[in-house]
């Protein structure tokens, strides 16, 4: 599973722009991954400039 570390987030929107599933919602200073839509494709993790999106311990099945 992909997790957002909200305390580190700058709310820049890179992850939203690359998400093929429209699974990330960004408000002024609030960001959420909609788990029901997320496919763990990891594009958001690779596109985050400041290491805010990470795989948590349950992460599995992600092709890198």
């Amino acid at each position: 599973m992909i997790e957002i570390l909200p305390d580190k987030c700058d709310f820049c929107g890179c992850c939203v722009g690359v998400c093929p599933e429209d699974a990330i919602e960004l408000k002024e200073a609030e960001i959420n991954i909609m788990e029901s839509l997320c496919t763990n494709c990891a594009k958001c993790v690779w596109s985050c400039p400041i290491e805010v999106l990470v795989f948590n311990k349950n992460g599995a099945g992600v092709k890198v």
Binding site: D10, F11, C12, G13, C14, V16, G17, V18, C19, P20, D22, E25, L26, K27, E28, K43, W46, S47, C48, P49, I50, E51, V64
Partner: protein, 389 residues
């Protein structure tokens, strides 16, 4: 606030503000919604812009110009520096103030503006977009319009809800991080660009002066690099090595969609502008003036459509944009893809060759020519830059 507007603009960046202004100037009713509390903040930009294009939109004012640029300096991986005097000068902006001033021009033209209004859905009428849903201070509202212009930035979702494929390939997303720091003793009229594996593979590293020895220092790297290393780790390494004690005034992150414009930037009742439409120069990553041109084009066509009571007129926007800027971006994109694959050695060789050209004779054209000697396959694309107007 009305129940219905002729045009609703989502996002009050440079592109949204120009869409709102040029529509309102033509006498149609306009509402511009911005999700953040302030127009212009947070900044997500290197803030460099060319003067000539900017003048089409606003008179330069000291309050939003941090530095005037008359030289580029390119630093090759081996540290050799090539200075390029510019025929056309540029600026490093204070985007916080600049964006605010642009929004004011939209307000002066008659557009209504609401901040902290987060658009979270679209209204439809028989398959055509007919307005937006938005959250404001915890409550949900909706407002109708004949045309929605989505200028909602790199994180654009509004277009997706209308069925336009807007998400960007992660390889084309330049993920950027930048600090504004003090005590950076660089020439205050020069923009510095660093190339190579150490600084910013598949992208570039920049230092843009902001006056009084403050500067924007940052970089962008493609998602291909981001798989292995974040932009932040490159920046931290650079600062540790070069400016370990510099006071950091601010640190920001942001994404630049460095690709060609979306295949489709209009659909029934909706137009996309700015980063949302991927109207960024993919070679430089510059998107301020191209986004403003996109916004102006969208706003003007939207107003014409309303005036002529023919909303299908908005579909002419795709072609108008392509002719004005989009086709050039296609060429820039091919050059970008060539340069991305340059090895450090190639950058070093180009710098060495170019530095033999006397300073007075150096032009951007010469620089491209020098790059060509080392990479003839770029010839056709570079030639097009100087032929296509």
């Amino acid at each position: 606030m009305k129940k219905k507007y002729d045009v609703i603009v989502v996002g009050a960046g440079p592109s949204g503000s120009m869409a709102a202004r040029f529509a309102a100037e033509r006498g149609v009713s306009v509402l511009m919604l911005e999700k953040d509390r302030d127009v212009g903040y947070p900044v997500r930009c290197g803030e460099a812009v060319g003067k000539e294009k900017l003048l089409e939109f606003i008179e330069p004012d000291r309050k939003f110009i941090a530095a005037e640029i008359n030289k580029f300096s390119m630093i090759a991986p081996d540290g050799s520096e090539v200075v390029l005097p510019l025929d056309q000068t540029g600026f490093v902006l204070e985007r916080k103030i600049f964006d605010y001033e642009l929004a004011k021009t939209a307000a002066v033209a008659g557009a209504e503006i609401l901040t902290r209004a987060y658009v979270n859905g679209l209204l439809f009428d028989g398959g055509k977009v007919s307005g937006v849903k938005y959250e404001y201070q915890g409550n949900q509202y909706q407002v109708e319009s004949d045309i929605v212009i989505a200028a909602d930035g790199v994180e654009s979702r509004v277009g997706r809800w209308a069925g336009i494929k807007t998400f960007i390939d992660f390889r084309d997303m330049e993920s950027c991080v930048q600090i504004t720091a003090g005590n950076i003793t660089v020439n205050q009229n020069t923009c510095y660009f660093y190339f190579g594996q150490e600084y910013a593979p598949h992208g570039y590293f920049w230092i843009f002066p902001k006056g009084n020895n403050t500067a924007n220092i940052g970089l962008g790297v493609s998602g291909i690099i981001g798989k292995k290393r974040s932009a932040l780790s490159f920046l931290n390494d650079f600062m540790k090595k070069n400016y370990p004690d510099a006071p950091i005034l601010t640190q920001i992150a942001g994404g630049v969609p460095s690709a060609v414009t979306l295949e489709k930037i209009s659909a029934p009742g909706i137009m996309l502008a700015g980063d949302a439409a991927r109207q960024v120069n993919p070679l430089s990553g510059g998107g301020i003036t191209s986004g403003m041109i996109g916004g102006r084009t969208a706003g003007t066509i939207a107003a014409e459509a309303i005036k002529s009571k023919n909303t299908d007129h908005i579909f002419s926007y795709d072609k108008a944009w392509h002719e004005a800027v989009g086709k050039r971006h296609e060429i820039y994109n091919r050059i970008k893809e060539g340069i991305y694959n340059f090895s450090d050695e190639k950058f070093n060789n180009i710098a060495r060759s170019f530095s033999r050209i006397p300073l007075a004779k150096r032009t951007l054209g010469n620089l491209f020519k020098t790059a060509l000697i080392h990479n003839p396959s770029l010839l056709i694309d570079v030639a097009k830059v100087f032929i296509v107007k």
